[in-house]
Subunit: 173 residues, 2 copies
């Protein structure tokens, strides 16, 4: 028997939580995290259109594997919660995020912003002579990197969706 | 003086809420909605990377303009909340959402799924002989429409980010 808890690493985990689509569920799930001092790095929630009765919550939270297992079990015990999956435990998970960035600048900064946007395959969704709105999607790390590069070039505003995730293959998760 | 409150329409509004990035804020904001029976259609939250001290919450909620104004004022009175904007009140707002869809099928269904994905400019991010994972972005209406079209073709799984929004022009919102 091997005990590995002592050298566990704190890493971000992406939890997918299937819940009944009813008022107050989100407040209860989030309350459970904040009540125990768990930090939420990103959160998305939307109805699952194949069934109007279910919603899917995706939460990114940092912790050791055993802490994540504990909070997952606690969330799963809530009545309106059906299932909790930790998609970070699978090597084949697809992670995606979308961001809108507004960058205002002139001259060389403006040229450089557009050049980097092309390199990152960001789309221009709005533009004037003095600003761009870029739309970028990909893994969170890529989006964070793009944001860092835009900072010295006149970054005005950022909106990020937070992470969604789905397994590879034909499985239902 | 014109009174228009009597013929107000119930419509989805997209609220952008700037808050201090501290534990429990999200629970308080959401608690305010659920405590008053407001429905949340979608919610995203993420750190604003230009300032680690702020997070942005985007909530889509249905209501008449006067109800939305009331809940916005209540949210703005919470201590960790800085500003609430109703981006639906502006005609020039850019709305975006991202979705991952898993579709499993064979034969003509599979061909039709790929054909529709091309028409909607969805990307194939994973595939086998029996399934596709499509990545689609755009306005929520477009994503909902694509989901409806995939349902009879073997839709296995949907994950949506929920809506993010940004104003056109160089303004900071």
């Amino acid at each position: 028997m091997t005990m590995t808890t002592t050298d566990e690493k704190i890493e971000s985990h992406t939890l997918t939580i299937l819940v009944d689509n009813e008022p107050g569920v989100l407040a209860r799930v989030i309350g459970l995290f904040s009540g125990r001092g768990y930090n939420i790095e990103s959160l998305t929630v939307s109805e699952i259109s194949e069934s109007r009765e279910l919603s899917r919550i995706t939460i990114v939270t940092p912790g050791t594997p055993s802490f994540i297992a504990k909070i997952s079990a606690q969330v799963e015990r809530l009545i309106p919660v059906h299932r909790v999956y930790d998609l970070s435990l699978r090597e084949d998970t697809i992670f995606r995020e979308l961001a809108l960035l507004k960058v205002a600048g002139k001259g060389e900064n403006r040229v450089e912003a557009l050049r980097l946007a092309e390199a990152f395959q960001a789309d221009v969704v709005d533009a004037s002579l003095e600003h761009f709105v870029f739309e970028l999607r990909g893994r969170s790390k890529k989006i964070t990197q793009f944001i860092e590069l835009m900072k010295p070039l006149g970054l005005v505003n950022i909106v990020r969706t937070g992470v969604i995730a789905v397994s590879r293959g034909s499985e239902r998760m």
